[in-house]
Amino acid sequence: MLAAWRVELTKFYRHRSTYAGFVLLLGMSSLVVWGAAKDARNQERRFKARVEASLGGEFIVAGKVTTAVLVPRLILFAKLPVYVFVASFVAMAAGGAIASEYSTGTLRTLLARPVRRTYVVLAKWLVNAGHAVSLTMFLGASGVALGYVFLGGGDLTWVDMQGGGFQIVPELEALRNLTWAYLLQGLSMIAVASIALCVSCAVGRSATAAGITVAFLLLSGMVGALPFESFEKVQPYLLTTHMAAFEHVLDKHVDWVQIRNAALWVGGYAATALLGAIAIMNRREIKC
């Protein structure tokens, strides 16, 4: 098992395309930081106006609203960076894990050796799970790092759109909560990687595996968002519903029970997909 994992690790991190995701996410973080820095004055003006509109009276903004810790929060709440970009990179990498090796023939070279198929799948899963978490954490970490360079430190402040007024979370607490939020989104991405790996074990092309995984996520997100009675019945069981719950780690008062349940659901999705991948792989005939 250890040998299979080391082999997979070497193959994965010696492939140039592995780093393409990191480069693109760095570009995305840079774009958010650049936008925040450029628009800092307007942000403060809009913040003041919204707070005054919601609470009444007149407020003076003494500190900074646009700080380093705001960047990863903006990225997370923009949804696209994690749910589309990171998820797509993860789906492409894990989707190719078995399918691309099947189509190029390297899978038969591997499996003609005295190695258990279960170990091959587990090794690939470990590598892709690590990749999923590192991509997610990298997105947040690069946002914070660039934020400290170009925006400077400070507390996390935002307008509370639901409760009214505004929230101020001390910088250290905000960093801790953001770390939790990104770690939990990393768990979501492990679930995405597991699904992609499972599909990858069943199909012959990596693009097909990645496409099916992304389509599954989009479909799940769509069913989760539409207010139809029949959809509402399945919404509590959808992966995307529980992925979205992780955003509440950034609330002023965190409902940790809800977060734990969401984590269990997402973990359940990941475990089920991994077991599915092992079962499919052990039954698969290597014709290519």
Binding site: A3, V7, R16, T104, R108, L111, P114, V115
Partner: protein, 310 residues
């Protein structure tokens, strides 16, 4: 002699198509066994079943005494294989590919990668990316990876495919070296019948998923119909005389020579009878059938039998 490969009634279907049809095969220790057959005869499917890549629909197979696929892992480290076209990670060097595969090859001695690179003549190009290798070089690397675990049995699917004449000679010598010096049993499938004739000690011929002939190469060649090439002063008369001889089963005139097919070792009788008929025989040489001719005859017979059965 103990069998390193044994199959009994091995069967594989792909949908309605019967790829391997009750194959009974035995390969013994120390043989260089050539597995012959036309495209789609079931050679690669058989090899894949032996290696656990495909599951048989019926029958049983054993590798080095272990039942496959159930007990394949037990003897996996003693089996090296190249299945169809060699496939590697193009973005890694040849050496790195071998190092990775060595980790999955059970007990692989330190320095074995260097040994196999030397054996297949890739030492100078070991640091190059496999993507930059020619087909022949990939083929050599494919043979190298099969030899990594110092296996007792090497299974090679078309090992000579894509090799230049020099490469063919080297592979031929390598096969002999593996068998004679390293004590390995070699099981190879090939379309290059001349190579098989030169390399292999034994052959098995499959057609439509069934084994239609199995034996030692030397026996097959000696048992084939005896033929003689005759040069005479009157070719037309010689054809006429030959047709009248009871032990002549066929004649073919070409390039001023007459090829006579005999029912047994009757070359001396042929010479005597031609001379007795007043013909001047200036040359007479026994003509041995090649493996290719035997193979083509077998295929024709198999197609005819298949046609009759159909």
């Amino acid at each position: 002699m103990d069998a390193v490969i044994r199959t009994s009634g091995l069967t594989k279907r792909f949908g309605k198509r019967l790829a391997v049809d009750g194959l009974d095969l035995e390969v013994r220790r120390g043989e260089i066994f050539g597995f012959l057959g036309p495209n789609g005869a079931g050679k690669s499917t058989t090899i894949r079943m032996l290696l656990g890549l495909l599951r048989p629909n019926g029958g049983e197979a054993w590798l080095l005494g272990a039942r496959v696929p159930q007990e394949r892992l037990r003897v996996g480290a003693q089996v090296g294989a190249l299945v169809e076209a060699p496939a590697f990670y193009d973005y890694l060097s040849g050496r790195r590919n071998l190092e990775l595969l060595a980790r999955l090859s059970g007990k692989c001695e330190r320095g074995r990668v260097d040994e196999v690179l030397e054996l297949v003549g890739l030492r100078d190009r070991q640091r190059d990316r496999v993507g930059a290798y020619s087909h022949g070089m990939k083929q050599r690397l494919g043979i190298a990876q099969a030899l990594l675990p110092k296996p007792a049995l090497v299974i090679l699917d078309e090992p000579a495919s894509g090799l230049d004449p020099q490469g063919l000679v080297e592979v031929r010598e390598l096969m002999r070296h593996l068998c004679e010096e390293e004590g390995m049993t070699v099981f190879l499938s090939s379309h290059l019948l001349h190579e098989v004739e030169l390399i292999c000690t034994d052959v098995g011929v499959v057609s439509q998923g069934r084994l239609i002939r199995r034996g030692k190469v030397a026996d097959l060649l000696s048992r084939s119909a005896s033929q003689a090439d005759v040069h005479v002063d009157d070719l037309a008369r010689a054809v006429e005389v030959a047709h009248g001889l009871p032990y002549v089963t066929g004649t073919e005139a070409r390039d001023g020579w007459l090829r006579v097919t005999l029912a047994g070792e009757m070359i001396a009788d042929l010479n005597r009878d031609l001379v007795a008929a007043g013909l001047g025989v200036s040359a007479l040489a026994p003509a041995r059938s090649t493996l290719e001719e035997i193979y083509l005859t077998l295929m024709a017979e198999s197609a005819h039998a298949g046609g009759l059965a159909g």
